[in-house]
Symmetry: C2
Subunit: 331 residues, 2 copies
């Protein structure tokens, strides 16, 4: 992917906020790659992303996660369609390497959008994760901000529920939906991964399958025993069976999302959750700055790496030396 | 888990190297948690882990990864058994949240070991990933070093092949095995995740199933077209069908692992690969130091977090402030 230019930045946010879809796409590309440019405070891209962050904050951010094969993409598309019927606009950031549609390709986005394609009230983006040791959190959360700042009422962030970063990113939402496919085996595996306990709403997908009822009952039972779902003071985590094929449960899910948003606001839990997300943002931004800075320092690292490879040094001592170098040149 | 004491450190490495299994287990616990203590260079735990790193380097490190449900744990156990028959010792670090046996529990380790249980030439450890925004790479790689330093001839690191960190950790090995279950759908999904291309050896598991041949043929075809596997100068990535049930292909797999090790040494690619791994170690150690330091600074972060949550500040500006604080107090 060609690196987007930050020079054209001044009016990009304004254009995106006015609904220019190419401007929104450009901002999202900047959000994915901006880390390269923002270690120096005076960079135009960094300034632009700072403006994006400060313009964001009004959207209801919904995390959707679940094991591979749970049917998350179809669920998210159906949810977006239902929200549109209610007059709400919806943005989607998908980070799902197991989705046949992900990978950041423009084609992928078009394929994903399907019958939502012509609707200006929907924007779906598949985020390319960049490989090379993590770092998907910062671009993902920045991308959510872009759609938030552009005025989408609901912004959905979809991640596969395996991989610590992936789960953490989905959990950094106001409302967290955990999607489980029918079948007990997967359910137990997901539970082992700590996936079920982050749910504000449980969804059992593929409700047209015979074993969906059983899975929903199992989840509800686990819920009653306090094994899954957050212990909200006044929020009882619902278990909703959905089918993206025939539309079962989709309206109920959309309603539950809105209800949960209302609950957060009424209970004051909203503020607490925003602080938790802000803390995550701070830490991921700081780690991202360090990671990018290390990349910049790669030419200076050859000797450190040689010494490590030959076991003449140890990783922490070398890391302290590297951090020292980074800070001299950086912030 | 109670935090292991570093005070008893001086003789712990020597005891572990002499084969004391409790000492090995203690060292592994230190490797998992040591990050808490090693920002200050004079900490005993940090010194111990530095000694571990410098004592390591002789083992052949084998990464095993693949989608959830590929049967990686059974494959790794069967591989370990075959290596034992050849007179080699084997250590295993498993980071697989979808494995019913993972989670770091001592019980889990015993269950996993099965009929390998009484053999002093095998050590299997399930690593608990610690949640809270990534950071599984550093404990995982340190744990590999522990078993390496304790003299195990082959150290296997098993991770689920979904999640960027998880894939990167498995790729930080001398020989990378990608395990695919029969069935084309999964294969395509894995390919999308960039999983297949890191393979030095492809394994199709559950070869007793009818569709295994087809998957093996598909992988071999993709291989011929240059779609999967590394472009080694002199290494042709084999596709091996295995069954942990009836033992099919396990001896061929063990032989391929040893052959690949010999290839690396003969071709000089070994040195290049060790440098690549050292670079990863350096970056993960540096990020881990920063991450732990941020945790230590949590009480000082309240105002930054409030400003971020209220969108009065932006993540990068706040991150630069945080890094400034960290460096003042730290390295």
């Amino acid at each position: 992917m060609a690196s987007p230019k930050a020079d054209a930045a001044p009016d990009l946010l304004a254009a995106a906020q006015a609904g220019d879809r190419r401007a929104i796409a450009k901002l999202l590309s900047l959000a994915e790659t901006a880390g390269n440019a923002v270690f120096r405070p005076d960079e135009a891209a960094g300034d632009l992303m700072a403006r994006v962050y400060q313009a964001a904050g009004a959207a209801h951010v919904v995390g959707v996660t679940g094991p591979p094969g749970a049917g998350k993409s179809s669920l998210v598309n159906a949810l977006a369609k239902d929200l549109r019927k209610r007059g709400l606009t919806a943005g989607v950031i998908a980070i799902d390497p197991s989705s046949p549609f992900s990978g950041g390709a423009i084609l992928g986005d078009r394929v994903r959008m399907g019958d939502l394609g012509g609707d200006p009230g929907v924007f779906i983006r598949s985020l390319a994760t960049q490989g090379a040791m993590g770092g998907l959190a910062r671009p993902a959360l920045d991308s959510v901000d872009v759609l938030d700042a552009c005025g989408f009422d609901v912004v959905v962030i979809e991640t596969v529920g395996v991989g610590q970063d992936e789960v953490d990113v989905a959990a950094a939402a106001h409302t967290v939906i955990v999607a489980s496919p029918p079948g007990l085996g997967d359910g137990i595996q997901a539970m082992k991964a700590g996936l079920l306990e982050i749910a504000d709403i449980h969804v059992v997908t593929k409700a047209d399958r015979a074993d969906a009822d059983r899975t929903a009952a199992d989840l509800a039972g686990a819920q009653d025993m306090g094994l899954t779902g957050k212990r909200g003071r006044g929020w009882s985590v619902p278990v909703i069976a959905t089918s993206a094929n025939d539309g079962t449960g989709i309206a109920a899910l959309a309603q539950a999302v809105l209800d949960h948003g209302a609950y957060l606001a009424a209970s004051g839990e909203d503020r607490e959750r925003r602080r938790r997300i802000a803390r995550l943002r701070l830490e991921t931004a700081a780690l991202d700055l360090m990671r990018r800075e290390f990349k910049r320092l790669a030419p200076d690292m050859a000797q450190l790496i040689d010494d490590l490879a030959e076991r003449r040094d140890d990783p922490r001592a070398a890391a302290r030396a590297l951090i020292g170098k980074a800070l001299k040149g950086g912030a």
